[in-house]
Amino acid sequence: MEGLLPELDVIRKDFPILERRLDNGQQLVYLDSANTSQKPQVVIDTMVDHLERHNANIARAMHQLGAESTEAFEAARDKVAAFIGAPSRDEVIFTKNATESLNLVANTLAWATGELAIGAGDEVVITEMEHHSNIVPWQLLTQRKGATLRWFGLTDDGQLDLSNLDQLINEKTKVVSLTWVSNMLGTINPVTQIARRAHEVGAIVVVDASQAVPQLPVDVTASGADLLAFTGHKVVGPTGIGVLWGKRAVLDQLPPFHGGGEMIETVRMDVSTYAGIPHKFEAGTPPIVEAIGLGAAVDYLGHIGMKAIHAHEQAITAYALEGLATVPGLTVLGPLDATQRGGAISFELEGVHPHDIAQVLDSRGIAVRAGHHCAKPAHARFGVQSSTRMSSYLYTTPTEIDALVEGLEYTRSYFKLG
C-alpha cells in the first residue's frame, strides 16, 4: 500500500503494549490513538533512567543531580521548540495537558489589562466542532466578563461553514479559538485563512493543535496562530504534560497564571514581581520527568519524520474509509476524502448503539472509542448523541483495519441486523 511507513514491523516492536494479549486471549488491536497514543520503549526508558539516576528538583538545586535534572528538562524544551518550529525556546510553556494550556489563555485573559482586556461588547469566536476543552473555558470567560461567545457552524459534510467569516470575525472580536484538526470529524481546518481574517480585525488567534501535532508537520509561525496548545500523551509522550506555545509579544502582555515557586522574580509579603517567560507561567515544581519523556517522544517522531507519519496516516485513513464503506448501514460523520482529513473516523451503524458496538469489538480485542468524544455540540449538529470512533497512528497496520471491518460485520450479525 502506497504511503505506509517502511519497516512498520520494526516500528511496532518499539511499542511494548502492542504485544499485549487481552484477558480473553485476543491480540490487542488498538484503534483509539486520538484518545491517547501508545508509548515507545525509548520514552519509557528515558523516564526510568531519569527516575533511577538523575531525579532532583530543577532550577533550585545547586548540586550535580539538580544540574542534570535541570539540563534534561530544559533540553526537552529545546526539543519541543524545534519540533514545532518555535522562533524562541522561551515561547514554549510546559503545562499538564492541552486543557490546561487552553485554560491558561482564557484564564489570564480574564485578568488582562490593556489591549488584550476583554469586557462587555467584546466577542470571542470558536467553532461548533471544538473539543469541550476549547468550549467551556471560553464560556466561562465570556460569562464572567460580560462578553459574547459566537461560533462557526458546520456544513453537512463536516467542514466549517465559512460563508459568514467576515461577519462572524469583526471589529468586536478579541479572540478566535479553533481546532486545527477535529478529534471527532477528522476535518482539517483552514487555520491560516481564518487567522488572516482575525488579524485584520486585531483579534488574537488560539489554535487547539491537540490532534494536529501528532499527525501533521507543524510550523507554529506558518500556522498563523498567536497561541497554540497540544498535549503530550497524544504524541507518544506521557500523561501529565502539555504545551502552550505563544508569541513572545502576546505572552509578555498576559498576566501570570498560577502564583508560586519559580514564577517569581522577588516576593515580599505585600507584593511580588514576576519572572519572564516561560517561567512566569510555570509556577511550582513542573512535570519534570514528564517533560523529559515528551522530549524523547518528539525526538522519536522527528526521527521517523512527521511527513512520513502524515503519509502513513493518510494511507491508513483512506484504506479505513474504503473498508467502512462496505459495511451496510454505516455512515461516516465528517469529510470522506482522506487527503482532506485527519485519522480519527467517527461513524454510526444503524440499529446498534456505539456502546454496544464498542463492546462487541472489545470482545475481539479491538479498542475503539464510543460516546461523544468530548464534542457534544458537534454530535448535536449531526443529530446524534454519540458515535463510534476509530483512530489510527504511526503503528497502525492495514490488517488492523481489516479486523475492524470484520468486527463491524460480526457486530451486525450479533445484533441480528439483516
Binding site: H353, P354, H355
Partner: protein, 150 residues
C-alpha cells in the same frame, strides 16, 4: 468470545432494549428528572406518578445503549404497582449487585428479570449504563416526596 458477550447481552436484555416497556412521557406526574451519563452522553427524562404511597406510573424518554434502555424497561416493569416501601429493597439490591464488581450473587426472588444485568456489573464501563434510570427513579422519588411534604 461469544460466551463472554452472551453473558452480557442476555436475551432478556436484548428483548427489553427492543420493546422498552412503559416508554414515553405521560401525565400525571409529581416529579420529572433528567439524568445524563456524562461519559457517553446517554440521557433519560423520567416522570414519576405516585398515588398515595403506590408507584402508579414511571414514564420515560431515553437515548442510550441496549444496557441502559433495557435497564429502564426492566425497572419500570419491576417497580410500577409497588408501594414506595416495597421498591426500596429492590433498588438497594440492584445497586448492590451493580457495584459488586461481579462478586455479589444476586437474589432472583427480589430482582426477577433484573438479575440479567449481573453480566454488566463485571464491566466497569457499563455499570453507569445500567444504573442511569435507577438513579433517576430514586431522584424523582425524593423530589416527589419533598414536594408532598411541602
Amino acid at each position: 468470545m461469544s460466551t463472554e458477550l452472551d453473558s452480557l447481552y442476555q436475551d432478556i436484555i436484548l428483548d427489553h432494549a427492543k420493546r422498552r416497556l412503559n416508554a414515553g412521557l405521560r401525565e400525571p406526574f409529581e416529579a420529572e428528572v433528567h439524568h445524563v451519563n456524562p461519559t457517553c452522553g446517554d440521557e433519560v427524562t423520567l416522570r414519576l406518578h405516585l398515588e398515595g404511597d403506590v408507584v402508579r406510573d414511571i414514564s420515560y424518554d431515553n437515548q442510550g445503549c441496549s444496557i441502559s434502555t433495557a435497564s429502564a424497561s426492566v425497572m419500570t416493569e419491576l417497580l410500577v404497582g409497588k408501594t414506595v416501601a416495597e421498591t426500596q429493597p429492590i433498588h438497594d439490591a440492584f445497586l448492590e449487585m451493580m457495584r459488586g464488581k461481579g462478586q455479589v450473587e444476586p437474589d432472583e426472588d427480589v430482582l426477577e428479570d433484573a438479575i440479567a444485568f449481573a453480566g454488566a456489573a463485571k464491566l466497569t464501563a457499563r455499570i453507569k449504563c445500567a444504573l442511569l434510570s435507577w438513579m433517576a427513579f430514586q431522584d424523582a422519588l425524593v423530589r416527589a416526596q419533598e414536594d408532598s411534604d411541602a
